[in-house]
């Protein structure tokens, strides 16, 4: 392959498909994120230079890892020459990891790296930033924009996290079996947080937000590919696919938020639903229903119902009740109350919602007045419903939500 255009596109393909895996291996071999990232760039530059004459090697992954590693060691030696104390030491330049060797490891390096990036000794927001940067390959600018923070702040956060990994000796290892379940929980929480940040859209433009959902699903897929037996990882991927199947139906052509009961179900992504249901059912068959399997089961019931009226609300209410074991708190209680209202009528729902509100903890949570307003509207209490919708309007700045609320307000005769 000497045609430069064909070579270029082959290199692009390899970069897209393998650059994260190559980076993960380089991080393990070189023991440093920044050194590995530079080595990755140098390896691809070397490929651009050499492959036109040598052709694409049989195993490009191994070639790029090996080249990147040599380039890095070379540069460390070169730099060391300018620091006399280092150049004169007897010890070879301290590359932190002794087990050098670029043959494909038994455990995929990306899996080790996910556990490193999601280590509980790192701050929660650092785990998210590091995972998106290192595993997904998003740029600092992209992550900063998606989370609406200054790029400098994010860069600083990443820098500190890498410094802690290096300084504190956070390992590049899949945790041992005794702690694996709790460590996997941390990884799943990071992925779900990325997804929810994209899905909940508390602020920001919708485009960037749905990108976050796609990244979370990609991460979920990678995790399931690397740990196919992990029930909760399968359940989480299923849950995200089920939520995401409604992506197009959740907003109107003008960008208004469309609630579940008014969505055009024919636009739901049937392929995503099928896969999501399958994964959630598989996870539930293990006999142990974890948090994501329960949430997945709720999402699956919605996804399979032909309409809001024909939804099995009683079972959904029971599942929310069960979910409280994992996620106790007023938000899940509110969802439970809404399901009860659908199964047993708005009076019963309103009674539950009022008792949740009375206990406190949901001040400023805009879905509380929205739920209350809906129930009052269904009970025909228009004036009281209008008051709730007005309250909700004061709590959100997301334009799509505001338009929905203004429409509701008009329907109950408020303005």
């Amino acid at each position: 392959m000497t045609d430069p255009a064909a070579l270029r596109s082959e290199l692009d393909r390899i970069y897209r498909a393998d650059s994260r895996r190559i980076l993960a291996t380089l991080i393990r071999l070189l023991g440093d994120f920044d050194v590995a990232e530079e080595a990755l760039g140098e390896a691809f530059a070397a490929a651009m230079e050499k492959w036109p004459t040598t052709g694409v090697p049989g195993n490009p992954y191994a070639w790029l890892v090996s080249t990147g590693r040599f380039k890095a060691i070379d540069r460390i030696r070169r730099d060391a020459r300018f620091i006399p104390e280092l150049a004169s030491t007897q010890e070879p330049i301290a590359l932190p990891r002794p087990e050098l060797g670029e043959e494909a490891p038994i455990v995929d390096d990306r899996l080790r790296l996910i556990f490193t990036c999601c280590h509980p000794a790192l701050a929660a927001e650092a785990r998210v930033a590091l995972t998106l940067r290192v595993i997904c390959g998003l740029s600092t600018a992209e992550i900063a924009r998606a989370f609406l923070i200054a790029e400098a702040t994010l860069a600083q956060r990443l820098h500190r996290a890498k410094e802690k990994i290096r300084g504190a000796g956070i390992p590049y290892e899949v945790p041992e079996a005794s702690v694996l379940p709790e460590r996997l929980d941390t990884v799943l929480a990071v992925i779900y947080l990325v997804f929810n940040e994209g899905y909940a859209a508390t602020s920001g433009t919708s485009l960037l937000r749905s990108d976050l959902c796609q990244e979370a699903i990609r991460l979920g897929r990678l995790l399931v590919e690397l740990m196919p037996e992990a029930n909760e990882a399968n359940a989480l991927l299923g849950l995200m696919l089920l939520h995401d199947s409604r992506r197009d139906a959740r907003t109107s052509p003008t960008g208004d938020l469309v609630l579940l009961d008014e969505q055009d179900r024919s636009t739901w992504d049937q392929q995503a639903i099928n896969e999501g249901v399958e994964r959630v059912e598989w996870a539930l068959k293990s006999g142990f229903a974890g948090q994501y399997a329960v949430e997945g089961a709720i999402a699956a019931l919605h996804a399979q119902a032909p309409s809001s009226d024909q939804t099995d609300w009683r079972q959904i209410a029971a599942l929310y009740q069960y979910l409280l074991n994992y996620r106790p708190g007023p938000v899940v209680e509110l969802n439970h109350a809404v399901a009860v209202a659908m199964a047993d009528g708005p009076e019963e729902g309103l009674r539950l919602v009022d008792s949740i509100a009375a206990r406190g903890g949901l001040e400023g949570y805009r879905w509380l007045p929205v739920a209350r307003g809906e129930l009052l509207r269904r009970l025909g209490c228009k004036a009281e419903a209008a008051e709730e919708f007005r309250k909700a309007l004061g709590m959100t700045t997301v334009e799509g939500e505001r338009r929905l609320l203004r429409r509701r307000l008009q329907e109950v005769g408020g303005t």
């Binding site: 956070i170 390992p171 702690v179």
Partner: protein
């Protein structure tokens, strides 16, 4: 690499314990020392006298300034430490978890930087 396990507890609480409880807890710490020493993790460690016995000094421009008391007044005080050798943070955290200090107080795990590094 080496990690310093810093054990922070409220001295007032510790001092208010009955002598039997004191003895029982000290024995737990002794057992931890023996266990980690036998497994090759322990490098060193000591309980510390209360902060009221501390003296803090500075010598800006070579002039000695001395102060009775600890560097910082805190709700919980540094009560003792273990210096351990562990292969990585995960092993160090496991050793910190097994340390009786984590049951009665907080254990801060600090990686030691290489000397001259």
């Amino acid at each position: 690499m080496q990690y310093l396990l810093l054990i922070y507890m409220q001295e007032s609480e510790w001092e208010a314990l009955s002598s039997e409880e004191h003895a029982r807890r000290r024995k737990e710490f002794d057992e931890y020392s023996i266990k980690t020493s036998q497994s090759g993790h322990l490098v060193g460690g000591n309980p510390l006298h209360p902060v009221r016995t501390a003296t803090t000094i500075r010598s800006p421009k070579g002039r000695l300034e001395m102060m009775d008391g600890p560097f910082a007044e805190t709700k919980e005080q540094l009560a003792g430490y273990f210096l351990i050798e562990a292969k990585d943070l995960d092993e160090a955290l496991q050793l910190a978890k097994e340390c009786p200090g984590s049951k009665y107080a907080a254990v801060e795990v600090r990686p030691c930087a290489p000397r001259g590094g």
